[in-house]
């Protein structure tokens, strides 16, 4: 699905990623954990195509294509989805109007006809249920006046609507209470299929109780320094990140 090889990236001259390598196959859920400043959000931003970052070395192949050559919207149309850590409020643009435009642009890129109003509304009803998002929220302005939990549920709702091949969830658990966390996780799980994959970026283990990863990676100082199964997340929760830093220093 996605292959990241020896990725080096700078922002404003400061090197953040220092040779990151990651391989995600269809059907898999990968969790990326790590201390503050390790480069987790940078990775999410680069995958989505934020232009502030300079790629100095390495490559990313997404479904056979050179991801770094694609614009942000082309990546979205190819099936990459980023759930934002801080979803943006857009006054005056209704959620459904925006999603319909997005869906149709994606369909157009695939050479499909625009979705009919009826089909679209049926899809909205079906998918908003997954994240228990009030249909009123679906027709309101994008994220405007939404609570923290509603914003994150709206991200997952959008993900459900756009049905991406690869979803990157950037700290989707931050700012969520336990109920919202459960709903968001349920949404993500219900979208899981053998054809798509997810990268879950998180600080804490608690989200991984609900979204069970196939692999857990520790990102530290711009590189993946340790990879394990779901039990690695529990170990990190228990012992923190210091033991990994120590391990690295020893070796």
């Amino acid at each position: 699905m996605i292959e990241i090889k020896n990725l080096h990236a700078n922002i404003e001259g400061k090197e953040i990623l220092k040779g990151l390598t990651l391989n995600v196959k269809a059907g898999e859920v990968h969790a990326i954990m790590g201390p503050n400043g390790a480069g987790k959000s940078t990775l999410a931003s680069i995958l989505a195509g934020r232009e502030e970052y300079e790629i100095t070395a390495g490559e990313i192949t997404f479904d056979g294509a050179d991801l770094l050559e694609l614009s942000t919207e082309e990546r979205a149309r190819e099936g990459l989805f980023l759930a934002f850590q801080y979803p943006v409020e857009i006054p005056g643009v209704s959620n459904v109007n925006f999603l319909r435009t997005a869906l149709n642009e994606i369909r157009e890129a695939k050479g499909q006809d625009p979705i009919s109003a009826k089909e679209f509304m049926a899809l909205v009803r079906e998918k908003s249920k997954i994240v228990e998002l009030d249909s009123k929220l679906a027709s309101r302005s994008v994220n405007e006046g939404f609570s923290g939990g509603e914003k994150k549920r709206n991200e997952i709702f959008q993900m459900a609507m756009l049905n991406p091949k690869l979803a990157v969830l950037d700290e989707t658990d931050s700012g969520l209470d336990i109920d919202a966390l459960r709903i968001v996780a349920k949404g993500v799980n219900s979208l899981k299929s053998p054809k798509n994959a997810s990268i879950v970026i998180t600080h804490y283990q608690r989200l991984l109780d609900h979204i069970v990863p196939d692999f857990v990676h520790v990102l530290y100082d711009g590189r993946i320094v340790k990879t394990g199964g779901k039990e690695l997340a529990l170990e990190l929760e228990d012992k923190g990140y210091d033991w990994i830093k120590e391990e690295l220093q020893v070796s």
Partner: protein, 406 residues
């Protein structure tokens, strides 16, 4: 001779324009002629023209050059009685519309003085005079004046609108030009909203790319009346509106909405004045627009609240989005309050589209252009929501879309 022309731009301008053939009295023409001799075209030294330079008028050739382009579907409203004013002159349809007059004898042509040089110029070269009167038991409820400019000539109409006591009326002033048209419109309008009357005016400036369009509206409101004016500046080299509203009666409501979409080198200037002379009135003004390329927008909104005009609620807001690094916005909201028990506010903002919002939309598959269009439509949507005329709203909505594709 050359020397004299240089000294007075107004006179040299007047010299190339055809004199009016409307039956104004000799004394009225003389009065305006005298004014013209005393005054000159406004310059940037005049406070009200600080950001708008009329020097370009000198370069207008008004050579009667015509375009082969046929203007189609210029009319907006399906319910309105229509009058077409083509290249400044009323096209006589021989169809009588109750309350509307376009033919004049010396006895009935109103002789109202405006306030400056451009009004005097309008009288001396007046090409059409149109009177619209709505009355309580009249059948005419809506009138659309369609001004079509396809020739590089002058179009100097005078418009008189009266909404009689207790009546309701809608007027659409629809200025349309062929795409490259370089005409000179100079319009003086006199509007009377009598007590308990409710008048709405929708103004569309969809002029040719080289056209000058200078307009003044003198509005007065009687007690318990409602007046709404919606102004849309969509295209044209220069568009200038001077809107003067005198609120003379108690319990009035006044609404001013404006939207503009500027690109290329177009220049748009909206000067508005609301003068609250008496107590217990409400006014609300909202002008919003986007400025692209090398375009310039000027907004100057003035609200006066006179000494005894207590319990006035007056709100004014202007917001701009610059879509290029070379666009210009000059915005000046002003309040002058002499009463002590009022609630007034004003504000002005100028900014750019939120980069984060553009990125967010793109990350969902929208192209950069589609993302910006969606955000601009949302921004202008606040003004469009105020428009209670369905067809006008959808026309303007369509024009905003065209702005991004053309």
């Amino acid at each position: 001779m050359e020397e004299v022309l240089k000294q007075n731009k107004l006179h040299s301008l007047s010299a190339i324009l055809t004199p009016t053939n409307l039956p104004f009295s000799a004394s009225f023409l003389e009065q305006n002629n005298t004014l013209l001799e005393q005054l000159d075209l406004p310059t940037r030294k005049d406070e009200n023209w600080k950001y708008t330079n009329l020097n370009g008028l000198k370069k207008l050739s008004l050579d009667k050059g015509a375009s082969n382009e046929v203007l189609e579907n210029t009319s907006i409203s399906s319910q309105a009685h229509k009058i077409v004013i083509k290249n400044g002159v009323v096209i006589d349809s021989n169809q009588a519309i109750e309350g509307v007059r376009t033919k004049w004898s010396d006895k009935n042509l109103p002789e109202v003085m405006g306030s400056g040089a451009l009004d005097a110029l309008n009288v001396l070269h007046c090409s059409a005079a149109i009177e619209i009167e709505f009355s309580q038991d009249g059948t005419t409820k809506e009138v659309e004046l369609v001004f079509e400019n396809t020739i590089n000539t002058h179009s100097f109409p005078r418009i008189f609108i009266t909404c009689k006591k207790g009546s309701k009326g809608t007027v659409i002033l629809n200025y349309q030009g062929s795409s490259e048209n370089a005409s000179f419109s100079n319009v003086s309008s006199f509007v009377e909203v009598e007590e308990n009357a409710n008048l709405s005016i929708h103004k569309i400036h969809k002029n040719g790319l080289n056209a000058f369009d200078l307009q003044r509206e003198y509005v007065s409101q009687g007690s318990n009346s409602t007046f709404t004016i919606n102004t849309f500046c969509l295209s044209g080299k220069m568009t200038r509106n001077d809107l003067y509203i005198k609120v003379k009666g108690n319990n009035c409501e006044t609404f001013m909405n404006g939207a503009y979409t500027l690109k290329g080198k177009s220049h748009c200037d909206n000067h508005t004045t609301v003068d609250h002379e008496v107590a217990h009135c409400y006014s609300k003004e909202l002008y919003k627009g986007v400025v692209d390329d090398f375009a310039t927008n000027v907004f100057n909104g003035k609200v006066f609240v006179r000494k005894d005009a207590q319990k006035i609620n007056a709100f004014q807001s202007n917001a701009n989005i610059l879509l290029s690094e070379t666009g210009t916005v000059n915005s000046k909201p002003e309040l002058e309050i002499y009463a002590d028990d009022v609630k007034c506010s004003h504000g002005s903002t100028t900014g750019q589209l939120d980069d984060e919002a553009v990125f967010y939309l793109r990350s969902r598959g929208l192209s950069e252009k589609a993302a910006k269009e969606l955000l601009v439509k949302a921004f202008l949507g606040e003004v469009l929501e105020e428009i209670d005329h369905e067809e006008v709203r959808s026309y303007v909505d369509g024009q905003i879309e065209l702005h991004f594709t053309a």
